[in-house]
């Protein structure tokens, strides 16, 4: 079997990002200390080119490398989400790593390699490729979490992430082993065919395998019993990376989970929807209730991301194409709101301490009206207030649940949204109604950061008001 | 059953040949070194001192065998045994003469004729560093052996990579890990040294480093750390370390000849068993002489220089060379 240009075309976006990562690895060796900023520009260039390629190949449908890689609308849609996230986080990083004196090519390089891994994770039906990709992106994320190695908090977060992550990965590989043992292949299409005619023993064994694999993916998307790393890691990581890892790995893992569930586990849909129902309810409720008591903005966003994973699981539990599509759409909207919120967290952070306590937001609405207004918008959006994208996304997720007659699930979701409004609005109240602080801390004045905030705000508003085009693309992206 | 008997016969023959070779290598080394330094060398025992190594061996049997009190006794015993065993094991798969076609098949002059011979040699050369490492550990916290052992470990780990990477080129070109097939591939083409001069040079350099010979004899640098890993050894056990080193030198030279210089083929008068045998051993003898030559003429490298040469020069060159070979083979360049 010979591989041709067709195979290379299917991994074009991955290849471009990887080439730029290698280029940074080599160029960084000869860059003088003062022009290390060039690494970031290179990384940005790579992401932009990959974005262009992904967008231009959007409606291609290629299966390559002996079925190990596919390129379809879903993978391209998620690829666009990831590349947009990467674009914004790299811009956020420009001034950040200068301030933290971390000017190292490795930062961007590891970031780019983990993007490659995420792209691979999003575009495969093969569990072995999935596992390798999950490992690559996890290792990249561990490194990026611990990148502020002079801060104990960062090292601690990375260590926690690493230990828990290895634990989850071992479950993932156990599940994959079980599947391989049961059906003699790691290819999800073959697994589906085998499962369709399976006896009850095979069925129960594959439910067990599903549980194991779900531990691995659940860890990546921060679903309920496997969520505990999220707030610690988001608080510990460099803020641009918190923003990145709250969106991109999740998007990739959600698509991989969708592929696994729809294609591989399709014949036992009844069983896995029951399990996911429970997981979704607990994830939403847990994330939202614990977030009520958070004092730190980044930790708050960590818990809120758990809750949002719960909302998206509702879409999967609905098990219809409206649900799957609205998960994709929600991920797309979530990108803008979360990036913006994390950018604001970076805005109020300082080099010496973390400085992201919610109390530090006091009076921000008056001192920095533009940033304050943007934050207001992001918080409304995360809470799901119309006319932002958060509302539209949640509306479609819950209506998908209703369509599948999961009324209780939809009701619990709506109640959760109402609970979440309390802590999101609390942030806004702090910004506008708690008066001025006694000693106003200096903010992080970075032009690229403000650009990202403005772009995020624009995206949230635009997609919120005119959702139909994006919704259409998102819902038709899941074609398997 | 025949295979077992023949294996045993070959095994005994190999042991004898290699032992005799090592004995006379010590004489040869001393003689050549003496000539290079304008001395005469061993002269008294036998014709031109030929029996000197025998006398030395007999002497070392009667020497007092000291085991330091703080040493780990069992490991102290095992270390030289591991070294010598692995060195011999590496020699098992190396053919010592061209194969003969007989009525019942092909007769191979290696103790074990396996397809993965190249990997086998790597495996056991890698293991032979354990003897040295354990010598350092077992000497009971004595400083010089400890430093020597660490140097040996680091050197082996670094240079085995380069050794393997440079041998990958002949392997790629002949598409085999079997020495006889690699030689056969060179009869169709020119010798691989003409296609792979870079790999030849990197192998030549790493050959010295892996067998820990001058100019890379850091593990046992006499003038810095006395004798490195075998400072605490005495008598016969001490003798086993140079013994194993000579065996490694022989194996290395043989691999060099097999992989790059066409084994038993010659520029003229080749084919047939006797010419093959003669060509083969002339080439091996040349490389063995090269080791002695380097010993007499080269200064020792510093430790950081050794590591720099390995990781910063040879490794990138070897990797690029493999890319080149792969490209040339895939593109079907005229001489490949």
């Amino acid at each position: 079997m010979l591989y041709t240009m067709k195979d290379l075309a299917a991994i074009m976006p991955e290849l471009i990002v990887a080439v730029f990562a290698f280029a940074i690895l080599l160029i960084d060796l000869w860059l003088p200390k003062k022009s290390k900023g060039l690494n970031g520009v290179l990384a940005l260039l790579g992401v932009v080119i990959a974005f262009g390629v992904t967008a231009s190949m959007y409606s291609k449908n290629i299966s390559a490398f002996n079925g190990m890689v596919v390129m379809d609308k879903a993978s391209n849609f998620v690829g666009i989400i990831m590349l947009l996230t990467a674009f914004a986080s790299i811009i956020l990083s420009f001034d950040f790593i200068k301030r933290e004196e971390l000017e190292a090519g490795e930062y961007y390089e590891v970031l780019l390699f983990s993007i490659v891994a995420m792209q691979a994770l999003a575009s495969t039906y093969n569990l072995i490729t999935m596992f390798v990709a999950v490992e690559t992106l996890s290792i990249g994320m561990y490194i990026l979490t611990g990148f502020l190695k002079n801060k104990n908090e960062s090292v601690e977060g990375a260590m926690k992430y690493y230990i828990l992550g290895s634990f989850a990965s071992s479950f993932l590989v156990l599940g994959i082993g079980l599947i391989y043992g049961l059906f003699g292949s790691a290819d999800l299409n073959i697994v589906k065919a085998g499962l369709a005619h399976a006896d009850s023993l095979h069925k129960w064994a594959s439910i067990l395998a599903f549980l194991f694999i779900f531990v691995g993916f659940g860890f990546k998307i921060a679903a309920f019993p496997f969520h505990s790393w999220t707030p610690d890691v988001y608080a510990a990581a460099p803020t641009p990376m918190s923003a990145f890892m709250s969106i991109a790995p999740k998007a990739a893992a959600f698509l991989a989970l969708l592929r696994f569930l729809i294609v591989g586990m399709g014949p036992i849909e009844v069983e896995w929807t029951k399990i996911l129902w429970v997981v979704a309810v607990f994830t939403m409720t847990f994330g939202n209730t614990v977030a009520l008591f958070q004092k730190d903005l980044k930790r708050l966003l960590g818990y809120s991301s758990i809750a949002h994973a719960g909302y998206m699981l509702v879409g999967i539990t609905a098990a219809n194409y409206l649900g799957y599509g609205s998960v994709m759409f929600y991920l797309f909207g979530y990108l803008f709101m979360n990036l913006g919120a994390f950018a604001i967290a970076e805005f109020i952070s300082t080099k010496e301490d973390r400085g992201t306590e919610i109390a530090n937001l006091k009076g921000m609405g008056y001192r920095y009206p533009l940033m304050g207004a943007a934050m207001l918008l992001f918080m409304f959006c995360l809470a799901g207030v119309p006319p932002t994208v958060g509302f539209v996304g949640k509306y479609y997720l819950f209506s998908a649940a209703v369509k599948s007659h999961l009324y209780y699930l939809a009701v619990i979701g709506v109640v959760n949204s109402a609970i979440s409004a309390y802590f999101y609005l609390n942030v806004i109240v702090t910004m506008y109604m708690k008066g001025e602080p006694e000693d106003a801390k200096p903010v992080f004045n970075s032009v690229p950061l403000k650009v990202v905030v403005m772009l995020g705000a624009l995206g949230v508003m635009y997609i919120g008001i005119f959702p139909s085009t994006f919704l259409d693309i998102a819902i038709h992206s899941i074609g398997f | 059953m025949m295979i077992v008997i023949w294996g045993l016969v070959k095994f005994v023959a190999l042991m004898l040949i290699v032992s005799v070779y090592v004995l006379f290598m010590t004489w040869f080394d001393r003689k050549v070194l003496a000539r290079m330094q304008n001395r005469i060398g061993p002269q008294l025992v036998g014709f031109h001192g030929l029996l000197q190594p025998l006398a030395d061996t007999i002497k070392s049997f009667w020497k007092e065998d000291i085991i330091p009190t703080r040493s780990y006794r069992v490991m102290f015993w095992l270390a030289p045994i591991i070294t010598i065993t692995t060195a011999f094991a590496a020699a098992f798969v190396v053919p010592f003469a061209p194969p003969i076609k007989t009525a019942s098949g092909v007769f191979h002059f290696s103790v074990a004729h396996i397809n993965e011979a190249m990997l086998f040699v790597f495996a056991f050369l890698g293991l032979s560093s354990f003897g040295v490492l354990y010598a350092g550990i077992a000497s009971g916290g004595s400083k010089y052996p400890f430093i020597g052992a660490q140097r040996e470990g680091a050197q082996m780990v670094s240079y085995e990579i380069i050794l393997a990477l440079s041998l990958l080129n002949p392997i790629l070109m002949s598409q085999s890990l079997n020495f006889e097939q690699i030689v056969a591939a060179q009869t169709h083409h020119l010798w691989f040294v003409f296609y792979q001069p870079v790999a030849f040079l990197t192998f030549l350099i790493s050959m010295f480093a892996v067998s820990a010979k001058v100019p890379f004899d850091l593990p046992e640098a006499e003038s810095e750390i006395c004798c490195g890993h075998f400072v605490e050894y005495s008598g016969l056990k001490m003798g086993l370390y140079p013994f194993a080193q000579y065996v490694v030198v022989l194996v290395m030279s043989a691999i060099m000849v097999l992989a790059f210089l066409g084994g038993w083929t010659g520029p003229f008068w080749s084919g047939g068993f006797i010419p093959g045998l003669i060509w083969y051993w002339i080439k091996i003898a040349f490389f063995i002489f090269l080791f002695t030559w380097a010993w007499g003429t080269f200064p020792r490298y510093r430790y950081d220089q050794l590591m720099d040469i390995g990781w910063k020069v040879l490794l990138p060159i070897s990797v690029l060379n493999i890319f080149w070979t792969g490209f040339a083979l895939t593109a079907g360049l005229p001489f490949f």
Binding site: M1, E106, V132, F147 | N115, E116, F124, L127, G136, V157
Partner: protein, 170 residues
């Protein structure tokens, strides 16, 4: 003949593994471990997998065990010598090990394995070297290349996170 070879090799493997666990001295533990690796590689040869056998020696015994020894050499030997052999959780390990053993025994009794034929279907001309190449570089090429990236990222990360800053070094 085959059975005798098998029992010798299993004895080496199991004995080595046992020695690794119960040796009093960490250095001899490492030596036992290497013995066990050698036994395992012998078993691979019996399974018609000489390529894997050789890699077992080169990678595990040759490289990994050397690194383990290296780390131990960099530690204070008095610390190493006074370490307890077992941590307080050894009972759990023993229980799990016993469970696994029982499981494997049950399997071995249920499926009669013909040792002389084992692994034959995974070879080309009696050797699995070509087969490994085929599987890795044709069938699983993409994951294989991804693994290269895993290793690179892990390597880069380990260096970045453990490197002293130049400022502090000066």
């Amino acid at each position: 003949m085959v059975a005798i070879m098998f029992f010798i090799l299993s004895l080496i493997t199991i004995g080595g593994a046992l020695g690794t666990v119960i040796a009093r001295n960490a250095y001899s533990s490492a030596l036992w471990m290497i013995t066990s690796f050698l036994g395992v590689s012998g078993l691979f040869v019996m399974l018609n997998a000489p390529f894997i056998a050789m890699l077992q020696i080169i990678v595990y015994a040759g490289a990994i065990a050397v690194l383990i020894l290296f780390v131990m050499m960099l530690m204070d030997r008095r610390v190493l010598e006074n370490k307890d052999r077992f941590n307080p959780q050894y009972l759990w390990g023993a229980i799990f090990g016993a469970g696994l053993l029982a499981d494997l025994l049950a399997l071995a009794l249920k499926f009669k394995i013909d040792i002389s034929q084992a692994g034959k279907n995974l070879t080309i001309n009696g050797s699995n070297t070509k087969m490994v190449g085929d599987v890795l570089f044709k069938h699983y090429l993409f994951p294989f290349e991804m693994v290269a990236i895993v290793l690179l990222v892990a390597l880069v990360g380990a260096i970045v996170l453990s490197k002293d800053d130049e400022k502090e070094a000066r």
